[in-house]
Amino acid sequence: MKVSKKEKAKTRQRILQAASDVIIEKGFKSASMREIARRAEVGDATIYNYFTTKEQLLYGYCEEKQDAVADALKQIKDFHEYSLREQLQQLTETELALWLPDREFLAEVFELTFYSPVSSAVNLAGTRKRFTHMVEDMIDAAIEAGEIPDQPYRELLAPLYWDYFTGILGYWLKDDSEGYANTSQLVDRSVELIAMVLHTGMIGKTLDLFSFMFRSHVSRHLKELGEYTAPWQKAKRRFMEGKDE
């Protein structure tokens, strides 16, 4: 029986949702592929056509979430009229809103990735790519519209925002204020600061300052540091031999 593409995507989504549910209930370690398959109402073997490991399920779910966030942002009719600051804040808030039902699941992801940068870099690559793609688009649009000046190292900005966002998620997972109001305030104020840096072209100006300092002060004094390539005055003694002789 041939399964249509649409059908396939649906099944994939069902498996991911089931995985999230089971992982929230049992924790990542105790969750089994078999149970997830049952919950998703697919065959024990079928699930492996979609995901070969439990980890894949975990990270697949994170990727799926990014697509949902992008969709939610597209739903906001006047989103393109938002300032960059508002867009970044909306992105962050939408992430939080959509993660809310799976907060415990996210905590598992954090547990597994936060303390192992390598695994997070590899496994979350897809999630990260989707996330940074959204940020890049916002920044590019703001530059095109003349809202903010062109930024040096533009390609680094979106990954930086990802790192910032990871920090926000960490704070949120530990936030016990009502309605996570503290996280909202933190986001409100930190995004303001980020937007300010982008608006004023702070990054470029800081680089200008450093390069000026380097050229006019550091490089001028390099000579005074001496000829570090000058030949030795006498030959070196052998390693571990004849120090006191």
Binding site: E86, A97, M196
Partner: protein
């Protein structure tokens, strides 16, 4: 963007810490100076020091912004220990909380109603048209096109208030009138807790809407279905604020008309409802060109006991006939406990109470009183005696209800003066 607020409690405590240090050193200076001063210059120096302390507090509070500032402002309303200029400064900066941008507005509305703004309202203006207590007000419209005023609360403001109260407590612990101020802080905390619950304000608004029936007075209708603890939606009243209205150079007749309305609202709420609508803050009134006066913002309503309401005309009459015994007796019935001898009480009456009473009842005798055509400002004239009364230290428990009532009176007189209105004040009080 220039309005960054020191956010973390740690940073805020850092700011406050410097103020405590500064205020503390002032105290030491004073203590060292004191033995060499005569009675009068000692008082003068104390006054100066109070001013300096206030200045430091003000600097600190304005650095903190937001709710701490509001607390300080309420503190200044509550007690009369802070000098007038500081009270003025504080009232100017009343409503400074960080503005809500579109993402937070969206979040708040989704959180409270489960739907985004465009689904809840026909139209929603993301730009606020007014600041409000602990939030901001947006114009919107219902699906049937009815204009609305939607008040939104800054998320987490209740948590911030808690932190800020603690902070303000720690600051005033070191100042001279700590005990008095701290008891005021408790009262303020209660009132702020009411204020952050917009449901409470919705109840007040509805209550006034149903009970205060006066010609040409309009009070907005609450939309319960579009209100919650953090959002308050009412019909939007037409009209402009006092300053804007004055810029349109209204005729004398219009001035008198609105002044009289304000006064009638005051008298009717107090006598009829035993309640007063906030303190007379010009921002709470809307002047409509069709002659209607709109009342908004019922976040802070003060209710009075029936006894208090009954005794006030007695007091005013006693003042008018300069009957010292009756004045003091009435005050005692109002709950004043004076720690004074008979002779002290007599001189207190002559020096403090009677001048205040003379000033307070002056407009009543005149039939209609013209607040504009006086060489010296009437409120300025009265300020000294009012201040003297408010600063009496040997009287306790007179404080809250009565002083607050007086302040309302005083604020109203100030507005009349600003309007340059002639008002008939004779009728109600002395009946």
């Amino acid at each position: 963007m220039s309005k960054s607020v020191p956010t973390s409690k740690l940073a805020r405590t850092g700011v406050a810490g410097t103020a405590i240090l500064k205020a503390g050193s002032k105290h030491l200076k004073h203590a060292a100076k004191r033995p060499f001063l005569t009675e009068s210059s000692s008082r003068e120096s104390r006054q100066k020091r109070d001013d300096e302390t206030a200045q430091i507090l003000f600097k600190t509070f304005s650095q903190l912004r937001g709710t701490a500032l509001k607390i300080a402002q309420m503190l200044s309303m509550e007690s009369n220990l802070l000098p007038e200029w500081l009270r003025n400064e504080l009232s100017k900066s009343y409503h400074q909380v960080p503005p809500l941008g579109r993402p937070l507005i969206r979040k708040l509305i989704e959180q409270e109603f489960g739907q985004p703004p465009e689904a809840v309202f026909n139209h929603f203006d993301p730009k606020a048209f007014a600041a409000a207590s602990l939030g901001q007000v947006h114009s919107a419209s219902t699906t049937t096109g009815e204009p609305l005023a939607v008040k939104l609360q800054y998320p987490g403001i209740d948590i911030t208030i808690g932190n800020d109260l603690q902070l303000v407590r720690s600051i005033i612990k070191r100042t001279r009138h700590a005990k008095l101020l701290l008891s005021s802080i408790d009262e303020i905390e209660l009132r702020l807790q009411e204020e952050v619950d917009y449901q409470h304000e919705a109840n007040n608004t509805e209550w006034f809407q149903q009970h205060l029936k006066l010609k040409n007075i309009t009070i907005p209708l609450v939309h319960r279905d579009l209100s919650s603890k953090r959002i308050l939606t009412t019909t939007r009243l037409a009209g402009v604020h006092l300053e804007q209205w004055l810029q349109q150079s209204p005729s004398q007749q219009q001035r008198n008309h609105f002044g009289q309305l304000l006064y009638d609202v005051f008298v009717n709420s107090f006598y009829g409802l035993h309640a007063l609508h906030a303190d007379p803050n010009p921002g709470n009134y809307l002047f409509n060109s069709n002659g209607e006066l709109g009342l908004v913002d019922f976040g802070c309503v003060r209710y009075y006991s029936a006894d208090f309401v009954k005794l006030i005309p007695k007091l005013l009459r006693a003042y008018q006939s300069k009957d010292a015994q009756a004045v003091i007796a009435t005050y005692q019935k109002l709950g004043m406990v004076a720690d004074m001898s008979e002779a002290e009480l007599q001189s207190f009456y002559e020096n403090t109470l009677q001048p205040f009473g003379d000033w307070l009842t002056k407009p009543f005798k005149a039939g209609s009183f013209d607040f504009s055509s006086r060489s010296a400002s009437y409120t300025e004239e009265g300020w000294m005696s009012f201040k003297n009364l408010a600063n009496v230290k040997k009287i306790n428990s007179l404080a809250n209800e009565f002083i607050y009532f007086d302040r309302t009176f005083f604020g109203l007189y100030q507005i009349f003066e600003r309007m340059g209105a002639t008002i008939n004040m004779e009728h109600a009080w002395l009946d």
